[in-house]
Amino acid sequence: MNNETLIKSYLIEEFLPEVSAGDLATDYDLLTNGVVDSLGLLKIIAWIETEFAVTVDDAALDPDNFRSVDAIGSFVARASVPVEAG
């Protein structure tokens, strides 16, 4: 699965069980439309940290990073850039 499919299927399983993947537009605003509240954001962040083995530091907790499938996808892409071990 590519990241977009993975993110969609997570969001659907967790927050939108009655929705099919085809109906969920990748720019659908999850925050304004009340799919994800602030507790939901923490769930998503926990999932991203586990699923993609990245660390989300407090500076990245801007809700806009998690507003849509697209936003989460770009966030994960940015966060997954390998850093030198140190």
């Binding site: 399983e13 967790e14 927050f15 939108l16 069980p17 009655e18 929705v19 109906d23 969920l24 537009a25 659908y28 605003d29 925050l31 304004t32 439309n33 009340g34 799919v35 509240d37 602030s38 507790l39 939901g40 954001l41 923490l42 769930k43 962040i45 926990a46 999932w47 940290e49 586990t50 989300v56 407090d58 907790l61 801007d62 809700p63």
Partner: protein, 488 residues
């Protein structure tokens, strides 16, 4: 930021105010974005003798325009100019007669915490605010040396205590970033770093703090203890006994209070809780504050004088004279003194809509609402209004919105809907429909769409009992997710 720096911000804000045409004395709208700049703007307006309307920062733009037009605002001033530089609403000079007494000395105009499309406007006079902040500052030591946590959004009446009373009396205010307000670890750090002495917040926030404090202990670190806190106030919702029982360990040096009030009257009841001796019948809202008169009315409107239950009706020294722009003749929650009340001097009372029980010792306990009002994450939501918004959608034929108690959110809303045959509407588009007309807290957590008629009672009303069992929402609700831990 020091008081000197705040004074400079207020001076800047006053200069901006001076450039506006305020000769008509119309209230100034200041979107309640939680920043020092917003606070300075409010202080500048108060200094200029202009009323401040504080619309929620998250209000949909269309709703805000309508609200501000009804308030008679000609100017919107935002702290971050670029963010709010939107045009002022088309000025509609007080089209409807202002509420009785809501005259020239109005200082703040708050909005009801929002269940309907356009919130009601609650004007509060300078005198009412002054009386409240003086009581609160004396009761909870909000003066110099105090450090007070502001958890609620800036448009909530709770801010009269944690922001405005504190600033009026020389204490320090610590603003909690709304985007981080459900991050328990962040809250814990904020309270610790600033040596906060007073925490006023909804029960959910205290639970998040307790969870985060315990998580630190469980992770092998020393248990986090908030030793600087001297007064812990919970308000806005029912405090679960299980949560309360954990608080003395988290705040070892604090006294604990259950504070009860609403936007229209501000706080009216207070109960100091002895955490070592929790009352068996739940936590009371306690006794009236000084100057508050309270009456319990039974279903027939008769005064309940001894033990019993009924609707709580109050008159406070801090209350609004009535909704701005409301028709004074229309029935509303502001009423004349109930016949047969105990001796008192108040002439104008407010029906809270809350059902209370009075025990033999005279303490009051909150039992529920007498209508469809529930609290979702601290925001008052009327499920009947949410149903109405859903029914406004052309492809929805029937709508029932159920509020199910939830340990974290207070309540979660579940919508059960019948769509018309051949409808293309789905839950995503319905969410968008709700989001355009309702505050976020009023958007149901789950939607169940069917094409079968919903069950009805013999009188033709939706049969709420037989709509269950509800889907168990796989949603945030029962647990607070902890970072670095699988929550699936």
């Amino acid at each position: 930021m020091s008081y000197g720096e705040l004074a400079r911000l207020v001076a800047d804000a006053s200069a901006r105010l001076d450039r506006l045409d305020t000769a008509g004395g119309e209230p100034i709208a200041v979107p309640a974005t939680k920043t020092p700049g917003t606070i300075a703007l409010v202080l500048a307006c108060l200094r200029a003798g202009l009323a401040v309307v504080l619309p929620p920062a998250t209000l949909p733009a269309v709703t805000r325009q309508r609200l501000l037009a009804r308030a008679g605002c000609r100017h919107v001033l935002g702290a971050e100019d670029a963010d709010h530089a939107g045009a002022a609403p088309d000025p509609v000079p007080f089209a409807a007669p202002a509420a009785p007494g809501a005259g020239e000395d109005v200082a703040f105009v708050l909005t009801t915490s929002g269940s309907t499309g356009v919130p009601k406007l609650v004007p509060l006079s300078a005198g009412a605010v002054e009386r409240f902040v003086d009581w609160a500052a004396a009761r909870f030591e909000l003066g110099p040396g105090a450090c007070v946590l502001n958890y609620a959004p800036l448009n909530f009446d709770l801010c009269f205590l944690d922001v405005w009373a504190t600033l009026h009396h020389g204490g320090q205010v610590v603003l909690v970033d709304p985007d981080a307000a459900t991050n328990g670890r962040h809250l814990l750090d904020v309270v610790d770093d600033h040596a906060v002495t007073v925490v006023q917040a909804v029960p959910m926030a205290h639970q998040l703090l307790a969870d985060a404090a315990d998580a630190a202990g469980a992770a092998g670190e020393p248990a986090r203890r908030l030793t600087s806190v001297r007064h812990v106030l919970f308000t806005g919702d029912h405090m679960p006994a299980r949560c309360l029982a954990r608080l003395p360990a988290v705040y070892p040096g604090a006294r604990f209070y259950n504070l009860y009030g609403c936007t229209e009257t501000n706080d009216s009841f207070l109960h100091e809780v002895d955490p070592q001796a929790l009352p068996p019948g739940g936590i009371p809202i306690g006794s009236p504050l000084p100057g508050v008169e309270a009456v319990v009315l039974d279903a027939d409107g008769a005064v309940v004088s001894g033990p019993g239950r009924g609707e709580l009706v109050v008159a406070t020294p801090f209350q609004s004279a009535g909704y701005l722009g409301a028709d004074p003749a229309a029935p509303g929650p502001f009423v004349d003194a109930p016949a047969g009340r105990p001796p008192g001097t108040a002439t104008r009372f407010y029906r809270t809509g809350d059902i209370v029980r009075r025990d033999p010792t005279g303490l009051l306990y909150l039992e529920g609402r007498n209508d469809f009002q529930v609290k979702v994450r601290g925001t008052r939501v009327n499920t009947a209004v949410v149903e109405q918004v859903l029914l406004d959608h052309e492809e929805i034929a029937e709508a029932v919105v159920l509020a199910v108690p939830d340990p974290v959110a207070g309540h979660l809303l579940h919508a059960v809907l019948r769509r018309v045959p051949g409808a293309s509407v789905n839950t995503l588009t319905l969410r968008g429909h709700c989001a355009r007309q309702l505050p976020t807290a009023a958007i149901p957590a789950t939607f169940r769409l069917t094409e079968e008629p919903l069950p009805r009672t013999t009188t033709g009303k939706p049969d709420r009992q037989s709509l269950g069992p509800l889907p168990t929402p796989s949603r945030p609700g029962t647990t607070t997710p902890t970072r670095k831990e699988t929550v699936r």
